[in-house]
Amino acid sequence: MSFDLPLVFMFLMGVAILAYVVLDGYDLGVGMLLPAGDAEEQDVMVAAIAPFWDANETWLVLGVGLILVAFPLAHGIIFGALYLPTVAMLIGLMLRGVAFEFRVKAQGWHRELWNWLFYFGSFLASLAQGFMLGRYVTGFQPGFGYLVYALLVGGGLCGGYVLLGATWLVLRTEGALQRKALGWARWGLWWVALGVALVSAATPLVSGIVWEKWFDFPRTSALMLLPIASVAAGIWVWKSSGRLARGERIPEWAPFVGALAIFVLAFIGLAYTMFPYIVMDRLTIWEAAAHPSALKAVLIGAAVVLPFIVAYTAFSYRIFRGKARAGMYE
């Protein structure tokens, strides 16, 4: 049996990056919401993500590692072109990551400083990731319009992460904080809708390729399923958070699942937009792929180890199911 190895690795890389975006997305979203809670609520909010953030962030290392290993040519081009936003993202992730520890271990005004850096780091990393995505889909073209476009995507992704973070808090908290989180979720949903509207309006202006791919009848009619399903998922988040806010007994994971669906649908759209390119309009996955011997070596390891990773990740989420409390995780 022979595999189309670059295709397999494109799939693996996509899964790793989607896992990162969704998992660390809720961490970063909670980080950006931190200033909206009072001191005690902030401890609960951090406790709701503390046992998971480290493993969540590892999906980024895997995703970027897979680009490095499987598509080394693309890695150099992509992260060379995105050099400064990558530095900004990394510094944001560094500050956010160590702030988990410092904010509970530092004393006095240092504690406040690290709370602020937790927020700032989460925001910087989210904005940078969205900015990088905006640059990536437009093939790193120079010009002011492209920068504005990338900033729009950055702002939109921040809204998406806030939505994920808020719905995660709905699942992991109770009482007054949970009610607040339901409000944040609806607020995040508006933010996402605005972001999507602006990005959609701007896309035909900045990228002919993207436009052609999406508005090519009759393919368009099938493709329209994606935005329609996204709108349905958005309505689902809105309705379910409204019902939870009114105290109706529906599952508390309902809004989070809706937010998750929005991200998955957007990711499928993105994958469709890019394929078969790994660098837009310049380099296909087959042109960028590493030597088959290297790909095979990694594939064997991934096939053996990934099931274990999924199993113990599930085990960890099972251990920490239920509501988070302040002080529990210090």
Binding site: P72, V87, E330
Partner: protein, 448 residues
């Protein structure tokens, strides 16, 4: 663009990142196993003092681990941005080794760290113990893969040329390349020494403030015992590692010992000011025939000098001094550790003067480790992969302005993080384990 400046900046930036990063894994690899020991002792005895020691060192571990994780992510981007030539030429070998590190080590340690830190009252005691062991295993596995890659870059083996690029012909020979066993053992022992000196040093600091702290006394005793056992072992392994380097990278040894010219009965230089322009030493204090005796075990044997390898020779002064800092500090650490074993015998509290000495040696392992890494990495120059790829041929197209800006940003962030780290770790150690928060009752059977 001046490519020489860009190369210097790219190297400076990568060097800064990797030097900052290595501080934390070098502590956590060893500390993880010390935590396994404390946790097991508590499980066996039910003695709360062991639990107190476990708790305080878990806090230090968690903080150090987070520092290592966030600084390590930077690496996965810089391989491609700073050294695209590296991935293009040897990516088919380096890539899979890095991928295996992520797959087998990073997820394991990150996931079970969550269980270890926050799960003590949520899972049975044996599961919590297992989580502690898995975290330690993860840190060591991570060291295994990255040392395999690092050693392969020093002494490449097992590769073939296929379709114009380097690919692995025999993965076992790639991983277990000639210098790997020495380098891996040397690094694991170094990590044990870093961790044991941090544990004994910070415990000494605690005892200066609170001489009655039982957990700090046990930690101090544990730290000095481990250090006293590992230090002599490290000297033996270090010597074997040196002989291995002489066999595979003789130019590195020639630079470390400032042997400028090939000669019979070469002297062992104890101290000198190497002058690279004139290829000679000033103010040299040396033992006649010493280098021949140490390196070849024969006082009249011929030792190859730098002239035999020119122009592909590493910079001499950083290697010469770096090596002496590492060895000198290693010997001092051996002496301090052995003194510590004597002074803490039968539960004794060492005199305050000695506690100050231990406290002063807290981060000595870091200095020795950085010096050692500097020697081995700069000693590989001008090669990035010995005999295969030159560093200058691997550098990327990132502009000087971008490199300079990012170097400054990283430098400022690292300075902030390191300062906060040392302040908080010292404060944590000084405050002891503290009373357990009432909201954190131990689960029944957690000690099992």
């Amino acid at each position: 663009m001046d490519s020489a400046t860009a190369l210097t900046l790219a190297r400076a930036q990568f060097g800064l990142n990797i030097a900052f990063h290595i501080l934390f894994p070098s502590l956590t690899i060893g500390l993880a196993w010390i935590l396994v020991f404390f946790r097991a002792k508590y499980a066996r005895s039910g003695d709360e003092t062991w639990l107190a020691a476990y708790r305080i060192w878990t806090k230090v571990f968690a903080l150090s681990f987070a520092m290592g994780v966030v600084s390590g992510i930077t690496m996965s981007f810089q391989f491609g941005t700073n050294w695209p030539g590296f991935m293009n030429r040897v990516g088919n070998i380096a890539g899979p080794l890095l991928a295996y590190e992520v797959l087998t080590a990073f997820f394991l340690e990150a996931t079970f760290l969550g269980v270890m830190l926050f799960g003590m009252n949520r899972v049975p005691g044996w599961v919590h113990q297992a989580a502690t062991v898995l975290v330690a295993l993860g840190t060591s596995l991570s060291a295994f893969w990255i040392l395999a890659l690092s050693s392969w870059m020093q002494t490449p083996a097992g590769h073939v040329i296929a379709d114009g690029v380097l690919v692995a012909g025999d993965w076992l020979r790639v991983i277990f390349n000639p210098s790997f066993p020495y380098r891996f053992t040397h690094m694991m022992l170094a990590s044990g020494l870093v961790a044991s000196f941090v544990v004994s040093g910070l415990s000494a600091w605690r005892l200066l403030l609170a001489p009655g702290d039982a957990a700090a006394r046990r930690s101090l005793r544990t730290g000095v015992l481990i250090a006293a056992a590992l230090a002599p072992l490290q000297i033996v392994i270090g010597d074997l590692h040196g002989l291995n380097t002489l066999e595979h990278q003789p130019a590195k040894i020639a630079a470390m010992e400032t042997i400028w010219k090939t000669e019979k009965g070469a002297p062992l230089v104890l101290f000198a000011l190497p002058d690279e322009d004139r290829q000679r030493n000033d103010f040299a204090i040396q033992v006649p025939k010493g280098a021949s005796l140490v390196l070849k075990h024969d006082p009249d044997a011929e030792v190859k000098g730098l002239d035999a390898f020119a122009p592909d020779v590493p910079p001499v002064a950083p290697l010469f001094f770096g090596f002496r800092v590492m060895v000198g500090l290693g010997l001092l650490m051996l002496f301090v550790a052995w003194a510590g074993v004597w002074l803490t015998r039968r539960g004794a509290l060492p005199p305050r003067g000695f506690l100050w000495v231990f406290a002063g040696f807290t981060f000595s392992g870091w200095v020795a480790t950085l010096a050692g890494w500097m020697v081995t990495e700069m000693g590989r120059q001008p090669w990035l992969v010995t005999g295969v790829l030159r560093t200058a041929d691997a550098v990327g197209q990132i502009s000087e302005a971008q490199l300079g800006a990012s170097l400054t940003a990283y430098g400022a962030t690292y300075a902030l993080m390191l300062l906060a780290y040392i302040v908080v770790v010292t404060h944590l150690a000084g405050g002891g384990a503290g009373p357990r928060a009432p909201s954190e009752p131990m689960a029944k059977g957690a000690a099992a």
